[in-house]
Subunit: 480 residues, 3 copies
């Protein structure tokens, strides 16, 4: 049932104005609300994300507020850290043996005392929406309300209707994709399937560990890939066969896409001899930085060729400078909020791939960016002409009301709506999924209403496009 | 007469709201409409474009809807192609001998069935404006209305009031510039002049074929240039003389500007010996890529020096990666929607030219960009201080409501209005010219109204600036 | 007293709408005005600027309108120059011995005749606000009113209440920072202190002349630094000691910050041996461009280390291509409006500095940019995680209503409000200081009101944040 979501449009609370994110002028606002009313209860299609399939396999209760909303969420702890709060005090585990805080109530209080730091951020919207819509907590978070909120939600978490599968159903999720390495055995996915539960949780193929020569343990990973598939994966042909086999295995657990998060959008279309040569160097740990980069770029083209065979949609997520702080990497490890966007070129970078397969109508490549300057200059012009290319939604730091607005304003005029793919929540914060989709739906409805008010779209079209952006395009683009 | 245009402000139809593109809040909207009312009927000044002078020379009927609106318009066919529709099925001629569709009604139907792809694009606004204001067709284009629309407009096209010269007059065009190569004999222009028709159609000097060492047939083109001018064009001095002669010839057919569409904004100010050396290498086909680029850059400075002598306005249109898809280039040739914008530096690139001639008050250089990031960062600061520099309007992919709004918001505060040059339609789609100018006028009026409403401009000034942006600045900047 | 400022909200005149810069829709506008009413009379905190301490030391009358508003203000004369008006005719002194105009009334008339060039620029807002609020002149500037305005303001300038200290007090300035070279003796600051006047005028440490090997007279400057401090400044250790001593001297005159305006954001963390080697090369005038750049980059890290000791806040102002026109540099010298922004990378450039000191909670580094593309892509993500980093306000060409709006829209969602530092006026135009702060306050109130109207911030929070942005954050970030 979708009442949890639907409630947002009638009930008001701290930060949850029923007309939030709609245009300010009354005519556009009224129209936006009407368009939104028509799509707010549509099922959630979540084709790209990072929820843990174990949740749905085991269906155990989530532990507590801190473990649910703070410790695992780099959006949250990075903001607190930026204001001088220790990651260890927020419970973020250290990799050097020093102990971090484990008292969840203490962690929660520290967060609650500093809740003002999140003013006007999407984290604030997601958190308040989750607290209210998922747990029925409607007061503002603060030092004063911290304990009451903690207890309220702790109580919820003990109840069956707050277990993962119950929430999945309450959130009205039609399908959700997780993301796994080719080296993952997908046993949680197997367990979900074998449980007989009707929730549709699928995997996606994320091969960084076995296509990036600079990934920790690359050579060993390739050996494991060989062992998993029975292919001679340390030969070039065996390696490609192993990918094909593993992709087929992932498809058997519902995968409809692969995902590639390189530092740049570089692609290459090397000869097989050149590729083989780089592959052997990579296994030997002898690649220069440039050679590693070329190999990664070539593997995108190989993956695209495999997609032509097996139909997996290819997602390219470039442009993040990973683990920017040496000190944090050393003490806390990867993925601690220190991935910083960089300038990203697409026009020259994608040409080898596009010259190889860019006109293939059966291939679908979805491009994302952390560099908004590419929207109007490069991405919309590319997606607005190449039949293989579609634009992924505003992503990561840009997955926010202003970011989503800029995405539409800078891509629609050149690429239209139909070269975009609906919304991705791209999150591991399960309880925020309805909130994130709700923000996207509201921003799109606001944009559509403004188009109508300014005479750029007819009203009947706005209703149809809203449905497309919310539901149809995601299913179509991801072949769900 | 301008009634065709004027009608837009009183009649409503699909996509043609009389208040379209005006601000949403009632006060700004009313003011925008008032400002617009004062300038909407001003004559069209079109100082940069790609209409075919043959139309006005021969004044024959335009063939049909597909040949008028689809086959020649890369904005239109690129969007359809991006969704998997073959260019050949849209009638785009192949260069490899394979036949493309020639049944115009069939092409039109294919377009009409897919008209929804253009939602919220400027193409949609231009097309609907043309259908309604030029041809009196007011229903929405769709599979259902395709044949009726086709017949309606086919009927129009047989009538004398839809011939090129009649439309030129109906569109209230005061002057229009076409664009020709120095190798063009300008015979269509001669024929227009000799016909005694009063329409002012002028040419512009676009010397890519004879200044770009990488242009197909560069050496032969230079020889032809010599033959046309009687100069020894394969010597450096003769080559420069030939340019001077050809510019004078273009001036005799009304040219007031030259136009330069290099891949970057690079300029050079080489010694004459260095330039001569590169020129001889270029003729011998022996330039490296770097040398060809340097030669193009130097020729901009030579062209600027000639402008100081003959008064032609110099237009620089950089930043397009031409013919991006190898496959499409091979099968369909140049200019098939695969020109993609790239990052463009102006600050370092223009310094050699500006150090040579940038302070000359009699020289006028108009800068365009496909990289909007340069507006506030580079172009407005440069145009806001160098007396030679002016900013061309939002261009190509940015010639759209959002693109024009961003242009004003990102350039006005630093460069003001008076370092801009009014609107260019830059189009070969003749029937869309009133639509394009109307969009620009509306967006400017909306912007001006918002400035007044927010206390940044007095009301009387807004009316004056609207007139300047619509009419006076284009005439002044292009010396028309 | 702040009545001068407060008047703006009740009196209307040319360009001074009491609701200027507020949102257009009535609900947001009313709320913006309410929020503004709560902060408009707060004292001005001006932690970064270029006013002349001599004004406050000597407290003599300002000379005349031209010397006050035109001759020293590159915002003003660059716009006039861009339209073909000679800098010499505007009284800008030449460095080549040729005389410039000295008749201030004549200069003023030339400006007044061309006042329309400033339409919709921030200069226009600042000038009109100053004329009205400081001098009580409310007519629009034009050829017709030029003489009357000149006489009116000339009369004001003779009166004691228009002397620098009286204006300082009328402007309700709580503290203002000037900017001086380490080679400055700070005698004006000494004179202010010894005068017993209560106005708080502090200095800031701007060491370009002694940290940039390419600065005119670098080696001689370092010798002077040694002489001033009694340190052997031509040895590496002595040079560092001399900096420490000079910073302490600046602190004794109130300095709480240093300021660094390199061409790029490059930092280095060299070994002491490498740094010493570069330093000796620099003294010998033997640095390559690359080495000079590396030395500047390393000195930022050294300055950061000193900040850890002495608590000065480190400001980084990169990205300006200085003195772009060779011809203007030759005839008029530096700082004549020809500093042009360039693309600026922060992610790679700052890594050496950040790896060295980026996690130090006692260090405060404020980043500025002339490249707005870095706001959402690089600066907000960096400031939103590194505890040392804060974002300076929209700067220079972007210190304008649209620029400030873009700053908030592109940084808040990732960095929040509390990683920003309030407003800097960064000006030498003393009379424009209330105007500039007023623009910033209004734009921030408009932004906050829009957040409330769109359900992204609660109303009580908006009032609190407005106070923070106007007053508290500047004091806290600059340790004032």
């Amino acid at each position: 049932m979708s009442l949890g979501l639907a409630g947002a449009s009638t009930a008001s609370a701290n930060g949850l104005d029923p007309n939030r994110l709609f245009p300010a002028d009354p005519a556009s606002r009224t129209l936006a609300a009407q368009i939104y009313a028509g799509i707010k209860d549509l099922p959630i299609v979540s084709p790209h994300g990072h929820t843990d399939p174990r949740w749905f396999a085991e269906n155990e209760a989530f532990p507590d507020l801190a473990q649910l909303f703070i410790v695992p969420d780099h959006y949250v702890f990075r903001m607190l850290f930026s204001q001088g709060i220790d990651l260890a005090d927020l419970g973020v585990p250290r990799t050097d043996g020093v102990l971090s805080e484990t008292d969840s109530r203490k962690i929660w209080r520290l967060f609650a005392e500093n809740f003002h730091l999140f003013r006007a951020t999407p984290s604030r919207m997601w958190l308040e929406h989750s607290f209210q819509q998922v747990f029925g907590w409607t007061k503002r978070i603060s030092a004063e309300t911290a304990d009451e909120a903690y207890d309220h939600i702790a109580d919820c978490l003990t109840r069956p209707e707050f277990r993962p599968r119950a929430l999945f159903e309450r959130f009205n999720i039609e399908v959700i994709a997780t993301t796994e390495s080719p080296l993952d055995d997908l046993n949680w996915h197997r367990q979900i399937r074998e449980s007989g539960w009707s929730g549709r949780v699928i995997t996606a193929y994320r091969p960084d560990a076995v296509v990036d020569p600079e990934f920790e343990g690359f050579a060993a990973n390739v050996e494991t890939l060989g062992a998993l598939t029975g292919e001679a994966a340390t030969t070039w042909q065996g390696y490609l066969k192993a990918h094909r086999a593993r992709r087929a295995y992932f498809k058997s657990f519902g995968a409809t896409s692969s995902d590639h998060g390189h530092a740049t959008a570089r692609t290459e279309n090397l000869s097989q001899a050149q590729a083989e040569d780089l592959f052997q160097k990579a296994l030997a740990g002898a690649c220069t930085g440039e050679e590693a980069d070329a190999f990664r770029g070539h593997m995108l083209t190989e993956m695209a060729r495999m997609s032509l065979e097996d139909g997996l949609v290819l997602q390219i997520h470039p442009g993040s400078f990973r683990n920017h702080s040496g000190g944090v990497m050393q003490r806390f490890g990867r993925d601690k909020g220190f991935d910083i966007p960089t300038q990203t070129d697409y026009v020259r970078a994608l040409k080898p791939l596009l010259d190889a397969v860019g006109l293939e109508k059966d291939l679908s490549i979805i491009l994302f960016t952390l560099d908004e300057t590419a929207y109007a200059r490069e991405l919309a012009p590319l997606a607005g002409v190449y039949p293989t290319l579609k634009l992924g939604p505003a992503w990561w730091f840009h997955d926010s009301p202003e970011g989503m607005r800029r995405f539409r304003e800078m891509t629609t005029e050149t690429a239209g709506f139909y070269n975009t793919v609906g919304f991705n929540d791209d999150t591991r914060a399960f309880c925020s999924i309805p909130a994130r989709h709700d923000v996207a739906r509201r921003v799109d409805c606001a944009y559509l209403a403004s188009l109508v008010t300014s005479g750029r779209l007819d009203e009947d079209e706005a209703f149809e496009v809203a449905h497309d952006l919310t539901y149809r395009l995601a299913k179509q683009a991801y072949r769900l």
